[in-house]
Symmetry: C2
């Protein structure tokens, strides 16, 4: 049913020093997505966690990308879900570099609202379809908006530092990213945090802007629709949150697999 009707969900996490990063959050979301699509995961949470650990060990990949996929199953009438198929893969993963961070991203905006956005389904039709436009506009990625409000990128969440000095990120119409959640935690004490509606107009005038994802961590946005954000360089809040995030990862490296 994934091939015939695009009916499937997944989650994607990575390992640092063979330790799966934010595994509980990813498992929560995977089971939540399955529930949302009325599909049953044929294993318990603990079993899946153990499989992920074992895959990393047996493949001997310290820095791996682990993809958990659950499909609507083999459907005789090609429309009604049956017993889901579960596939878990473990491959080397490329993450954004410090150079990527310093360079920042050039975004364009596009009016679109993902279907069932809180579910991590395999539907990336519009995102993949937009790639020739991105190349033509020499943009790195696209920011979706709907009814005047920004939501997210196809594979990333978005944050701004508002004129008033708060860290703001959209709360509705989005996939709740695991890196997004961690960044909200890391921002505690640094500046006020607001999960709320963010108008498209507001982002053009934000003092800082960045995106978050599992493989990109935090990446500054230097330009949206040809307009510079701040001075086009990574801002101080973005830089501090990035530092805290890398520190958290380095802690896993230093602490070793026992940690």
């Amino acid at each position: 049913l994934s091939i015939q009707r695009g009916y499937a969900l997944f989650d994607f996490l990575r390992s640092v020093n063979s330790i799966p990063l934010f595994l509980p959050g990813h498992l929560d979301r995977f089971f939540g997505s399955a529930d949302g699509l009325h599909l049953t995961v044929p294993y318990t949470r603990d079993q899946l966690g153990a499989v992920v650990q074992e895959l990393i060990q047996r493949n001997g990949i310290d820095e791996a990308g682990i993809r958990l996929m659950l499909t609507g199953g083999s459907s005789p009438d090609t429309y009604h879900p049956t017993t889901p198929n579960l596939v878990i893969t473990c491959l080397p993963v490329r993450t954004a570099t410090n150079e990527d961070f310093e360079k920042g991203l050039r975004l364009i905006t596009y009016e679109h609202q993902r279907e069932l956005p809180h579910i991590k389904s395999i539907n990336y039709l519009t995102g993949v379809w937009l790639q020739p436009l991105l190349r033509q506009q020499q943009a790195d990625d696209v920011l979706y908006h709907s009814k005047g409000l920004v939501t997210e990128l196809p594979r990333s969440n978005v944050f701004i530092v508002s004129k008033e000095g708060s860290l703001c990120t959209p709360a509705a119409g989005i996939l709740h990213g695991i890196t997004r959640k961690k960044v909200l935690e890391l921002a505690g004490g640094l500046l006020p945090v607001e999960e709320r509606a963010v108008a498209l107009e507001e982002i053009y005038n934000s003092s800082e802007m960045f995106i978050t994802s599992t493989t990109r961590r935090l990446l500054p946005v230097r330009e949206v629709d040809g307009r510079l954000i701040g001075n086009g360089k990574p801002g101080s809040v973005t830089r501090e949150l990035y530092r805290r995030f890398r520190e958290l990862e380095e802690g896993l490296r230093a602490g070793g697999p026992d940690r």
Copy 2:
């Protein structure tokens, strides 16, 4: 990329007496969908037509359902399309019966606009996701509407006979069905035909309503959101168009494979 990002398209036709029904229209749409998704079909139109014919012959299935699928290919970064994969399957197909026609359908409506609706992509996320709701409401299918206008069903087009006695079918925000096109041709001379915006309110008060699809041909709608359409029985226009459509198919049966 179909499994990982739902990036793929297809077309579906059936054969009558081993003759592929409306093959040129289906091939046109298949190539149009590929073009729309920026994918290249690795065969010519004539080659694909010949493969379809040969598949029907070699499988020995007179009344077959033929599915042509084109995916975004095997993508190393799991996001950017590469060389498309083409899969064509040929299996026995079940079509709607005269009994199905007499019974008619019970629909509910749901606000939704399919992404890239003119492209026959594999994205049926919302349609498949709605199935528990359909069961709960004891509905046979769902009619999508957006901004006050009806568009289509997940796998069918919709027609009404208006109060003024015209055959009306939405023109925008839809997949252009091959059966839909044939019905528009068959209606010539029978009554005025209008491809135009159809308001949700208008369908509740239509005198007849039916849906079209490759496997369902024409099926009357007897009820929408609990409201009876006409007297709940197949209307005279629907019945006449259905008769003409079946006659067209019987002509293929009588004429044999040479026709």
